[in-house]
Symmetry: C2
Subunit: 191 residues, 2 copies
DNA sequence: ATCAGAATGTGATGTAGGTCACGTAACCAA
DNA sequence: TTGGTTACGTGACCTACATCACATTCTGAT
Protein backbone atom coordinates (compact mmCIF):
# COMPACT_ATOMS: atom_id res chain seq x y z
CA UNK A 1 0.00 0.00 0.00
CA UNK A 2 1.10 3.55 -0.57
CA UNK A 3 2.81 5.18 2.38
CA UNK A 4 0.28 7.95 2.83
CA UNK A 5 -2.72 5.65 2.83
CA UNK A 6 -1.03 3.21 5.17
CA UNK A 7 -0.40 5.94 7.72
CA UNK A 8 -3.89 7.37 7.36
CA UNK A 9 -5.51 3.98 7.91
CA UNK A 10 -3.22 3.36 10.85
CA UNK A 11 -4.15 6.62 12.55
CA UNK A 12 -7.83 6.27 11.71
CA UNK A 13 -7.97 3.16 13.88
CA UNK A 14 -7.60 5.23 17.04
CA UNK A 15 -8.34 8.84 16.11
CA UNK A 16 -10.83 10.52 13.81
CA UNK A 17 -9.30 13.26 11.74
CA UNK A 18 -10.57 14.72 8.48
CA UNK A 19 -8.81 14.26 5.16
CA UNK A 20 -7.74 17.90 5.17
CA UNK A 21 -6.30 17.59 8.65
CA UNK A 22 -4.49 14.43 7.64
CA UNK A 23 -3.00 16.11 4.57
CA UNK A 24 -1.58 18.77 6.85
CA UNK A 25 -0.30 16.20 9.35
CA UNK A 26 1.20 14.11 6.58
CA UNK A 27 3.10 17.10 5.21
CA UNK A 28 5.32 16.87 8.31
CA UNK A 29 6.46 13.35 7.49
CA UNK A 30 9.49 12.82 5.30
CA UNK A 31 9.63 9.60 3.25
CA UNK A 32 12.98 7.82 3.35
CA UNK A 33 14.22 4.78 1.48
CA UNK A 34 16.89 2.50 2.87
CA UNK A 35 18.80 -0.47 1.55
CA UNK A 36 19.28 -3.70 3.46
CA UNK A 37 22.01 -3.20 6.04
CA UNK A 38 21.82 0.59 6.08
CA UNK A 39 21.94 2.32 9.44
CA UNK A 40 19.29 4.74 10.65
CA UNK A 41 20.49 5.53 14.17
CA UNK A 42 23.90 4.78 15.66
CA UNK A 43 24.67 4.82 19.37
CA UNK A 44 26.09 8.24 20.23
CA UNK A 45 24.06 10.09 17.58
CA UNK A 46 21.78 12.95 18.31
CA UNK A 47 18.22 11.66 17.83
CA UNK A 48 15.70 14.02 16.24
CA UNK A 49 13.09 11.78 14.68
CA UNK A 50 10.93 8.77 15.07
CA UNK A 51 10.12 6.44 12.19
CA UNK A 52 6.95 4.85 10.91
CA UNK A 53 7.72 1.71 8.92
CA UNK A 54 5.92 1.49 5.57
CA UNK A 55 7.66 -1.59 4.19
CA UNK A 56 10.56 -3.83 5.12
CA UNK A 57 11.90 -4.72 8.53
CA UNK A 58 14.15 -2.78 10.88
CA UNK A 59 15.80 -3.80 14.11
CA UNK A 60 16.40 -1.64 17.17
CA UNK A 61 19.28 -3.07 19.17
CA UNK A 62 21.77 -2.48 21.92
CA UNK A 63 25.43 -3.46 21.76
CA UNK A 64 27.13 -4.43 25.00
CA UNK A 65 30.91 -4.38 25.44
CA UNK A 66 31.22 -3.98 21.65
CA UNK A 67 30.37 -7.66 21.50
CA UNK A 68 26.91 -8.81 22.41
CA UNK A 69 23.80 -7.56 20.68
CA UNK A 70 20.33 -7.46 22.18
CA UNK A 71 17.37 -6.67 19.97
CA UNK A 72 14.72 -4.52 21.59
CA UNK A 73 12.33 -4.52 18.68
CA UNK A 74 11.80 -5.81 15.19
CA UNK A 75 9.96 -2.98 13.45
CA UNK A 76 7.56 -4.18 10.78
CA UNK A 77 5.11 -2.21 8.60
CA UNK A 78 2.86 0.11 10.64
CA UNK A 79 5.24 -0.05 13.60
CA UNK A 80 6.97 2.98 14.99
CA UNK A 81 10.54 2.99 16.13
CA UNK A 82 13.24 5.26 17.49
CA UNK A 83 15.46 5.59 20.53
CA UNK A 84 12.61 7.07 22.55
CA UNK A 85 14.69 7.60 25.62
CA UNK A 86 17.15 9.74 23.67
CA UNK A 87 14.37 11.39 21.68
CA UNK A 88 12.32 12.52 24.65
CA UNK A 89 15.16 13.34 27.00
CA UNK A 90 17.25 15.03 24.32
CA UNK A 91 20.22 12.82 25.07
CA UNK A 92 22.53 10.87 22.77
CA UNK A 93 21.34 7.56 21.37
CA UNK A 94 22.25 4.46 23.36
CA UNK A 95 20.74 2.05 20.88
CA UNK A 96 21.13 1.48 17.15
CA UNK A 97 18.55 1.03 14.43
CA UNK A 98 19.29 -0.50 11.05
CA UNK A 99 17.59 -2.29 8.19
CA UNK A 100 17.24 -6.05 8.03
CA UNK A 101 15.70 -5.71 4.57
CA UNK A 102 15.24 -2.85 2.12
CA UNK A 103 12.80 -0.51 3.80
CA UNK A 104 10.62 2.53 3.31
CA UNK A 105 9.90 4.66 6.36
CA UNK A 106 8.21 7.93 7.18
CA UNK A 107 10.26 10.19 9.39
CA UNK A 108 8.66 12.55 11.92
CA UNK A 109 10.72 14.94 13.99
CA UNK A 110 10.21 15.25 17.72
CA UNK A 111 9.41 18.95 17.31
CA UNK A 112 6.83 18.29 14.65
CA UNK A 113 5.18 15.57 16.70
CA UNK A 114 4.85 17.91 19.65
CA UNK A 115 3.61 20.67 17.39
CA UNK A 116 0.98 18.42 15.81
CA UNK A 117 -0.07 17.09 19.20
CA UNK A 118 -0.60 20.64 20.33
CA UNK A 119 -2.48 21.70 17.22
CA UNK A 120 -4.82 18.70 17.09
CA UNK A 121 -6.33 17.10 20.12
CA UNK A 122 -6.99 13.99 18.03
CA UNK A 123 -3.33 13.65 17.14
CA UNK A 124 -2.40 13.80 20.80
CA UNK A 125 -5.06 11.16 21.39
CA UNK A 126 -3.54 8.96 18.73
CA UNK A 127 -0.05 9.19 20.18
CA UNK A 128 -1.29 8.50 23.68
CA UNK A 129 -2.83 5.25 22.47
CA UNK A 130 0.10 4.25 20.39
CA UNK A 131 2.43 4.65 23.36
CA UNK A 132 -0.03 2.88 25.54
CA UNK A 133 -0.04 -0.18 23.36
CA UNK A 134 3.73 -0.13 23.29
CA UNK A 135 3.83 0.07 27.08
CA UNK A 136 1.48 -2.86 27.50
CA UNK A 137 3.45 -4.95 25.00
CA UNK A 138 6.68 -4.06 26.75
CA UNK A 139 5.32 -5.11 30.16
CA UNK A 140 4.15 -8.35 28.65
CA UNK A 141 7.54 -9.09 27.19
CA UNK A 142 9.22 -8.28 30.49
CA UNK A 143 6.94 -10.71 32.26
CA UNK A 144 7.62 -13.39 29.69
CA UNK A 145 11.32 -12.84 30.24
CA UNK A 146 11.02 -13.43 33.94
CA UNK A 147 8.52 -16.22 33.75
CA UNK A 148 9.33 -18.32 30.70
CA UNK A 149 12.33 -20.26 29.50
CA UNK A 150 13.84 -19.77 26.06
CA UNK A 151 11.75 -22.42 24.36
CA UNK A 152 8.47 -20.84 25.40
CA UNK A 153 9.66 -17.34 24.55
CA UNK A 154 10.70 -18.60 21.15
CA UNK A 155 7.30 -20.13 20.50
CA UNK A 156 5.57 -16.95 21.67
CA UNK A 157 7.65 -14.89 19.29
CA UNK A 158 6.87 -17.09 16.30
CA UNK A 159 3.18 -17.13 17.18
CA UNK A 160 3.22 -13.34 17.27
CA UNK A 161 5.30 -12.84 14.13
CA UNK A 162 5.22 -15.94 11.91
CA UNK A 163 6.86 -13.94 9.09
CA UNK A 164 10.03 -13.52 11.14
CA UNK A 165 11.07 -17.14 10.77
CA UNK A 166 11.76 -16.73 7.06
CA UNK A 167 12.56 -13.04 7.07
CA UNK A 168 15.40 -12.65 9.53
CA UNK A 169 18.50 -14.75 10.22
CA UNK A 170 18.27 -17.02 13.25
CA UNK A 171 21.03 -15.31 15.20
CA UNK A 172 18.90 -12.16 15.23
CA UNK A 173 16.00 -14.09 16.65
CA UNK A 174 18.39 -15.34 19.31
CA UNK A 175 19.42 -11.74 20.03
CA UNK A 176 15.78 -10.82 20.48
CA UNK A 177 15.18 -13.71 22.84
CA UNK A 178 18.30 -12.83 24.80
CA UNK A 179 19.91 -16.19 24.21
CA UNK A 180 23.00 -17.46 22.40
CA UNK A 181 22.60 -18.54 18.78
CA UNK A 182 23.92 -21.97 19.73
CA UNK A 183 21.20 -22.52 22.29
CA UNK A 184 18.53 -21.43 19.82
CA UNK A 185 19.95 -23.77 17.21
CA UNK A 186 19.76 -26.68 19.65
CA UNK A 187 16.14 -25.77 20.32
CA UNK A 188 15.23 -26.37 16.69
CA UNK A 189 17.07 -29.67 16.72
CA UNK A 190 15.03 -30.97 19.64
CA UNK A 191 12.09 -29.68 17.66
CA UNK B 1 1.33 16.21 51.56
CA UNK B 2 -2.37 16.22 51.07
CA UNK B 3 -3.62 13.98 48.29
CA UNK B 4 -5.16 16.71 46.23
CA UNK B 5 -2.08 18.92 46.25
CA UNK B 6 0.18 15.99 45.50
CA UNK B 7 -1.81 15.13 42.40
CA UNK B 8 -2.02 18.73 41.28
CA UNK B 9 1.72 19.22 41.58
CA UNK B 10 2.30 15.96 39.80
CA UNK B 11 0.12 16.92 36.85
CA UNK B 12 1.43 20.47 36.75
CA UNK B 13 4.87 19.10 35.90
CA UNK B 14 3.72 18.11 32.42
CA UNK B 15 0.48 19.94 31.76
CA UNK B 16 -0.84 23.40 32.52
CA UNK B 17 -4.38 23.40 33.81
CA UNK B 18 -6.14 26.05 35.84
CA UNK B 19 -7.21 25.55 39.44
CA UNK B 20 -10.85 25.39 38.40
CA UNK B 21 -10.11 22.78 35.78
CA UNK B 22 -8.14 20.77 38.30
CA UNK B 23 -10.97 20.92 40.82
CA UNK B 24 -13.23 19.41 38.21
CA UNK B 25 -10.67 16.79 37.25
CA UNK B 26 -10.03 15.93 40.87
CA UNK B 27 -13.74 15.39 41.51
CA UNK B 28 -13.45 12.22 39.43
CA UNK B 29 -10.87 10.67 41.74
CA UNK B 30 -11.96 8.59 44.68
CA UNK B 31 -9.67 8.47 47.72
CA UNK B 32 -9.15 5.01 49.18
CA UNK B 33 -7.30 3.88 52.28
CA UNK B 34 -5.77 0.43 52.58
CA UNK B 35 -4.06 -1.50 55.34
CA UNK B 36 -0.80 -3.36 54.89
CA UNK B 37 -1.48 -6.65 53.15
CA UNK B 38 -4.83 -5.62 51.68
CA UNK B 39 -5.54 -6.56 48.10
CA UNK B 40 -6.52 -4.03 45.44
CA UNK B 41 -6.68 -6.20 42.33
CA UNK B 42 -6.74 -10.00 42.17
CA UNK B 43 -6.05 -12.02 39.06
CA UNK B 44 -9.37 -12.83 37.41
CA UNK B 45 -11.08 -9.62 38.57
CA UNK B 46 -12.73 -7.17 36.31
CA UNK B 47 -10.50 -4.08 36.24
CA UNK B 48 -12.21 -0.68 36.13
CA UNK B 49 -9.72 1.74 37.65
CA UNK B 50 -6.18 2.86 37.81
CA UNK B 51 -4.59 4.09 41.01
CA UNK B 52 -2.42 7.07 41.89
CA UNK B 53 -0.38 6.38 45.01
CA UNK B 54 -0.48 9.16 47.61
CA UNK B 55 1.36 7.38 50.40
CA UNK B 56 2.68 3.92 51.15
CA UNK B 57 3.95 1.27 48.79
CA UNK B 58 2.07 -1.18 46.57
CA UNK B 59 3.30 -4.06 44.50
CA UNK B 60 1.97 -5.23 41.14
CA UNK B 61 2.84 -8.86 40.64
CA UNK B 62 2.22 -11.97 38.63
CA UNK B 63 1.84 -15.46 40.09
CA UNK B 64 3.01 -18.38 38.01
CA UNK B 65 1.86 -21.96 38.58
CA UNK B 66 0.36 -20.80 41.90
CA UNK B 67 3.92 -20.77 43.18
CA UNK B 68 6.35 -18.23 41.85
CA UNK B 69 5.80 -14.52 42.11
CA UNK B 70 7.26 -11.90 39.80
CA UNK B 71 6.95 -8.25 40.71
CA UNK B 72 6.31 -5.95 37.79
CA UNK B 73 6.33 -2.73 39.75
CA UNK B 74 6.75 -1.28 43.20
CA UNK B 75 4.33 1.66 43.24
CA UNK B 76 5.50 4.50 45.43
CA UNK B 77 3.94 7.95 46.02
CA UNK B 78 3.14 9.80 42.75
CA UNK B 79 3.30 6.54 40.81
CA UNK B 80 0.34 5.16 38.92
CA UNK B 81 -0.54 1.51 38.83
CA UNK B 82 -3.13 -0.92 37.54
CA UNK B 83 -3.35 -3.94 35.28
CA UNK B 84 -3.22 -1.75 32.19
CA UNK B 85 -3.56 -4.62 29.80
CA UNK B 86 -6.84 -5.65 31.43
CA UNK B 87 -7.93 -2.05 31.89
CA UNK B 88 -7.48 -0.99 28.28
CA UNK B 89 -8.53 -4.23 26.63
CA UNK B 90 -11.49 -4.78 28.95
CA UNK B 91 -10.28 -8.23 29.87
CA UNK B 92 -9.90 -9.94 33.26
CA UNK B 93 -6.88 -9.11 35.39
CA UNK B 94 -3.86 -11.35 34.94
CA UNK B 95 -1.83 -9.64 37.64
CA UNK B 96 -2.42 -8.77 41.29
CA UNK B 97 -1.90 -5.57 43.19
CA UNK B 98 -1.66 -5.36 46.96
CA UNK B 99 -0.24 -3.21 49.73
CA UNK B 100 3.24 -3.70 51.13
CA UNK B 101 2.51 -0.97 53.69
CA UNK B 102 -0.58 0.98 54.71
CA UNK B 103 -1.43 3.11 51.74
CA UNK B 104 -3.58 5.95 50.50
CA UNK B 105 -4.44 6.00 46.82
CA UNK B 106 -6.62 7.98 44.45
CA UNK B 107 -8.75 5.83 42.20
CA UNK B 108 -9.69 6.91 38.67
CA UNK B 109 -11.98 4.83 36.50
CA UNK B 110 -11.11 4.02 32.92
CA UNK B 111 -14.28 5.74 31.73
CA UNK B 112 -13.53 8.90 33.67
CA UNK B 113 -9.98 9.03 32.39
CA UNK B 114 -11.19 8.78 28.81
CA UNK B 115 -13.88 11.35 29.50
CA UNK B 116 -11.40 13.78 31.03
CA UNK B 117 -8.94 13.22 28.19
CA UNK B 118 -11.68 14.09 25.75
CA UNK B 119 -12.83 17.16 27.66
CA UNK B 120 -9.37 18.65 28.25
CA UNK B 121 -6.60 18.55 25.71
CA UNK B 122 -4.13 19.20 28.53
CA UNK B 123 -5.27 16.13 30.42
CA UNK B 124 -4.74 14.00 27.35
CA UNK B 125 -1.32 15.59 27.06
CA UNK B 126 -0.54 14.68 30.64
CA UNK B 127 -1.52 11.04 30.19
CA UNK B 128 0.45 10.76 26.98
CA UNK B 129 3.58 11.84 28.83
CA UNK B 130 2.94 9.69 31.83
CA UNK B 131 2.58 6.62 29.64
CA UNK B 132 5.60 7.66 27.68
CA UNK B 133 7.80 7.76 30.73
CA UNK B 134 6.47 4.37 31.76
CA UNK B 135 7.25 2.96 28.34
CA UNK B 136 10.80 4.26 28.39
CA UNK B 137 11.37 2.91 31.90
CA UNK B 138 9.96 -0.44 30.88
CA UNK B 139 12.26 -0.67 27.86
CA UNK B 140 15.19 0.21 30.05
CA UNK B 141 14.33 -2.51 32.53
CA UNK B 142 13.93 -5.04 29.73
CA UNK B 143 17.35 -4.16 28.40
CA UNK B 144 18.85 -4.45 31.85
CA UNK B 145 17.28 -7.88 32.16
CA UNK B 146 18.90 -9.07 28.98
CA UNK B 147 22.21 -7.36 29.49
CA UNK B 148 23.03 -7.48 33.19
CA UNK B 149 23.45 -10.19 35.77
CA UNK B 150 21.58 -10.18 39.07
CA UNK B 151 24.23 -8.28 40.98
CA UNK B 152 24.17 -5.33 38.61
CA UNK B 153 20.38 -5.31 38.43
CA UNK B 154 20.26 -5.31 42.20
CA UNK B 155 22.60 -2.34 42.42
CA UNK B 156 20.62 -0.50 39.76
CA UNK B 157 17.42 -1.05 41.70
CA UNK B 158 18.85 0.25 44.96
CA UNK B 159 20.39 3.25 43.21
CA UNK B 160 16.97 4.05 41.76
CA UNK B 161 14.97 3.43 44.96
CA UNK B 162 17.21 3.60 48.03
CA UNK B 163 14.11 3.55 50.28
CA UNK B 164 13.23 0.03 49.13
CA UNK B 165 16.06 -1.58 51.04
CA UNK B 166 14.47 -0.80 54.39
CA UNK B 167 10.88 -0.68 53.26
CA UNK B 168 10.24 -4.06 51.67
CA UNK B 169 11.30 -7.61 52.61
CA UNK B 170 14.21 -8.99 50.65
CA UNK B 171 12.26 -11.80 49.05
CA UNK B 172 10.13 -9.16 47.33
CA UNK B 173 13.23 -7.48 45.98
CA UNK B 174 14.27 -10.90 44.69
CA UNK B 175 10.86 -11.27 43.03
CA UNK B 176 11.36 -7.92 41.32
CA UNK B 177 14.81 -8.89 40.10
CA UNK B 178 13.50 -12.23 38.85
CA UNK B 179 15.86 -14.25 41.01
CA UNK B 180 15.48 -16.66 43.91
CA UNK B 181 15.60 -15.22 47.43
CA UNK B 182 18.53 -17.52 48.21
CA UNK B 183 20.62 -16.13 45.39
CA UNK B 184 19.87 -12.57 46.47
CA UNK B 185 20.80 -13.43 50.04
CA UNK B 186 24.15 -14.79 48.88
CA UNK B 187 24.69 -11.58 46.97
CA UNK B 188 24.57 -9.55 50.17
CA UNK B 189 26.95 -11.97 51.85
CA UNK B 190 29.58 -11.42 49.18
CA UNK B 191 28.86 -7.77 49.78
C1' DA C 1 4.77 -13.67 77.45
C1' DT C 2 4.14 -17.02 74.14
C1' DC C 3 3.68 -19.22 70.02
C1' DA C 4 3.00 -19.55 64.85
C1' DG C 5 4.24 -17.99 60.86
C1' DA C 6 7.06 -15.03 58.22
C1' DA C 7 11.70 -13.66 56.82
C1' DT C 8 16.40 -14.68 56.28
C1' DG C 9 20.96 -17.30 56.02
C1' DT C 10 23.58 -21.12 54.23
C1' DG C 11 25.13 -25.68 52.58
C1' DA C 12 24.69 -29.44 48.93
C1' DT C 13 23.44 -30.48 44.55
C1' DG C 14 21.08 -30.01 39.89
C1' DT C 15 20.52 -27.76 35.36
C1' DA C 16 19.64 -24.34 31.67
C1' DG C 17 22.05 -21.96 29.02
C1' DG C 18 26.76 -19.68 27.96
C1' DT C 19 31.31 -20.09 25.84
C1' DC C 20 34.74 -22.05 22.97
C1' DA C 21 36.05 -24.63 19.15
C1' DC C 22 35.48 -26.46 14.87
C1' DG C 23 33.10 -27.85 10.55
C1' DT C 24 29.92 -27.16 6.61
C1' DA C 25 26.91 -24.71 3.65
C1' DA C 26 25.04 -20.47 1.54
C1' DC C 27 25.72 -16.07 -0.39
C1' DC C 28 27.74 -12.38 -2.58
C1' DA C 29 31.26 -9.47 -5.01
C1' DA C 30 35.27 -9.14 -8.00
C1' DT D 1 34.79 -19.18 -10.92
C1' DT D 2 36.73 -18.15 -6.82
C1' DG D 3 37.65 -16.56 -2.46
C1' DG D 4 35.77 -14.30 1.61
C1' DT D 5 32.24 -13.34 4.63
C1' DT D 6 28.04 -14.68 6.95
C1' DA D 7 24.92 -18.17 8.61
C1' DC D 8 24.23 -22.27 10.95
C1' DG D 9 25.03 -26.85 13.35
C1' DT D 10 27.13 -29.49 17.03
C1' DG D 11 30.26 -31.39 20.60
C1' DA D 12 32.85 -30.51 25.12
C1' DC D 13 33.02 -28.02 28.94
C1' DC D 14 31.86 -24.15 32.35
C1' DT D 15 29.04 -21.13 35.30
C1' DA D 16 25.33 -18.56 37.21
C1' DC D 17 21.52 -19.43 39.27
C1' DA D 18 17.63 -22.64 40.87
C1' DT D 19 16.09 -25.97 44.03
C1' DC D 20 15.89 -28.47 48.26
C1' DA D 21 16.75 -28.88 52.99
C1' DC D 22 17.31 -27.16 57.38
C1' DA D 23 18.63 -23.73 60.96
C1' DT D 24 17.94 -19.20 62.87
C1' DT D 25 15.93 -15.03 63.72
C1' DC D 26 12.16 -11.66 63.70
C1' DT D 27 7.36 -10.21 64.13
C1' DG D 28 2.72 -9.88 65.15
C1' DA D 29 -1.49 -11.74 67.15
C1' DT D 30 -3.62 -13.74 71.10
Amino acid sequence: MEAKLLLQDHIAKTASITDEQFDYVYSHFKPLFFKKGQTIIISGDKVDCEYFVVSGCLKAFFINDEIKMYILQFAMPTWWTSDYSALYNQTKATINIDCITDAEVLCLSNDDREKLCKEFHQVEHFFRWRTNKGYIASQKRLLSFMNNNVKIRYEELLALYPQLYNLVPKHLIAAYLGVSRETLSRLYASH
